[in-house]
Amino acid sequence: MYLTPDMTALALAVLVVPILVSSLIAVAHYFSPKTYGKYTYDNYECGEVVRGDFQAPLPLQYYFFMMAFVVFDVDMLLLLPWASDVRGLGLGVFLDVLGFIGVMLVGLFYVSKKGYMRWLND
């Protein structure tokens, strides 16, 4: 990998921006008060004392959306190489892509007709 100016700026940005932000937080930490009460470091629950665990079991519906998202995300990634040269690849590849998207859409239609793509389970 060559050390081009662009790539250097990009790589340093990932380092420089967090350093600037953390210096801001450090300044704020220096000037901020450090009082301590009995409930200061408790979780916020509208002024009440914390009760119970924060975790709750999630409904299974939530994960169907995640699965559909992963499928479509990979679908989109596989279309990226085709996108830059549609004209050169021509109509045949375009029809292949149509079939590729069509399979996904038919699957999504089937799943939604089955009732899996519903937020509320009723």
């Binding site: 250097t8 700026a9 932000v21 959306f65 996108a83 830059s84 021509g90 109509l91 892509v97």
Partner: protein
């Protein structure tokens, strides 16, 4: 002339003027002074973009407060400075004096990392935008073949910070905010990607610079009006402003994922939100309205005007609209935006095949 070479030549002049003996050591065949200048140059560029982005954020927050107050028949900030314009500076000093509380139950490392993940992509996205030319100086920090992919990747990272911050707080409100944030991301991300894909099809390149150059005659909003609608709604959802502010639904969850954040950490998240609004408006203006390319002349002025219009539209959407439910948003994303964006993909690929890619 590139911004890099502009700053590099200034630095070279300074170094020559000071007669530093850095030109005697050689590193990989180049003088050590050149290497040092190289990295100093890159850092200067990043800090410059950071400063400009913060300036835009300050102006945006001021305009937002005044505009919101005007619509709600209030006066808004009016005490400090002319028309209350120094109120935000005072707010920064107020935030610095606030106590920074990390709850004792929280996952401390993830809690601390989350604001960085929200804020850093804003600057990373700003780096790759071509802002046009000022006489011969080209205002673009980073230019390589895959800038659009990098931009999309940077924009997709920042909602992950919301999820991490919400989950690591170990708070019930924050947990719900994080879960809603994740659900919202998966609702709009696929349609947004597919509309970006159709942009790549029309321009025939992954580079934002080429996309701007392809819009010399017709901006992409005309052949891709459907894709523009999808992308615009996705940008509103990505900033999590009303009507799609599910991650921090103020009236239901206390402040959503950022419930436990206080002091400067909250300030960073706030700046990240407004910075993302600036980035989103610039991205929409660049990808669909030609950015610096405009009628009569090409200039930085055009991208400023275009993105200012979109900032006002985003602020208006924030002020005027109510919140949708999570299931309504997901229905919209999966059952309307996804088919619309795929239809747009087909239209643009047919245009590319029969009329040629670049207009």
């Amino acid at each position: 002339m590139n911004l890099f070479f502009f700053i590099m030549s200034i630095l070279y002049g300074i170094l020559k003027f000071l007669h530093w003996p850095l030109w005697n050591w050689y590193l990989y065949g180049y003088p050590a002074g050149l290497w040092i200048m190289y990295f100093v140059d890159a850092i200067i560029e990043v800090v410059l973009v950071f400063a400009v982005a913060m300036l835009v954020v300050v102006i945006l927050v001021y305009v937002f407060r005044k505009y919101m107050a005007d619509i709600q028949n209030r006066i808004g900030p009016n005490r400090l400075g002319p028309w209350g314009s120094l109120q935000l500076i005072a707010d920064v000093f107020k935030l610095i004096q606030k106590q920074d509380i990390i709850p004792k139950n929280a996952d401390r490392i993830a809690f601390r990392v989350a604001p960085y993940i929200i804020f850093t992509p804003v600057i990373l996205g700003m780096l790759v935008i071509p802002f046009g030319n000022v006489s011969i100086l080209q205002l673009m920090v980073v230019n390589f073949k895959y800038t659009l992919l990098f931009l999309v990747a940077a924009m997709v990272i920042s909602p992950l910070g919301e999820v991490i911050g919400g989950l690591s707080s170990h708070n019930k409100f924050a947990l719900y905010g994080a879960l809603r944030s994740a659900a919202q991301d998966i609702g709009y991300e696929v349609p947004m990607m597919i509309s970006v894909l159709s942009l790549i099809i029309l321009a025939g390149s992954y580079s934002i610079n080429d996309i701007v150059n392809a819009q010399k005659h017709i901006p992409f909003v005309i052949p891709e009006i459907l894709g523009f609608i999808v992308f615009f709604l996705a940008m509103i959802a990505k900033q999590s402003i009303p009507p799609f502010d599910l991650p921090e639904s103020g009236s239901e969850l206390v402040s959503g994922f950022s419930t436990e954040y206080s002091g400067m950490r909250y300030g960073i998240i706030y700046m990240g939100n407004f910075g993302f609004m600036a980035l989103a408006s610039v991205v929409v203006a660049t990808l669909y309205f030609g950015g610096p390319v405009g009628p009569f002349f090409n200039s930085v002025l055009w991208i400023a005007v275009k993105s200012a219009v979109f900032m006002i539209i985003f602020l208006l959407s924030w002020i005027a609209l109510g919140r949708v439910r999570v299931d309504q948003f997901l229905n919209m994303g999966w059952k309307y935006l996804l088919p619309i964006s795929i239809l747009n993909l087909l239209i643009s690929s047919l245009i590319a095949i029969y009329f040629g890619g670049a207009f």
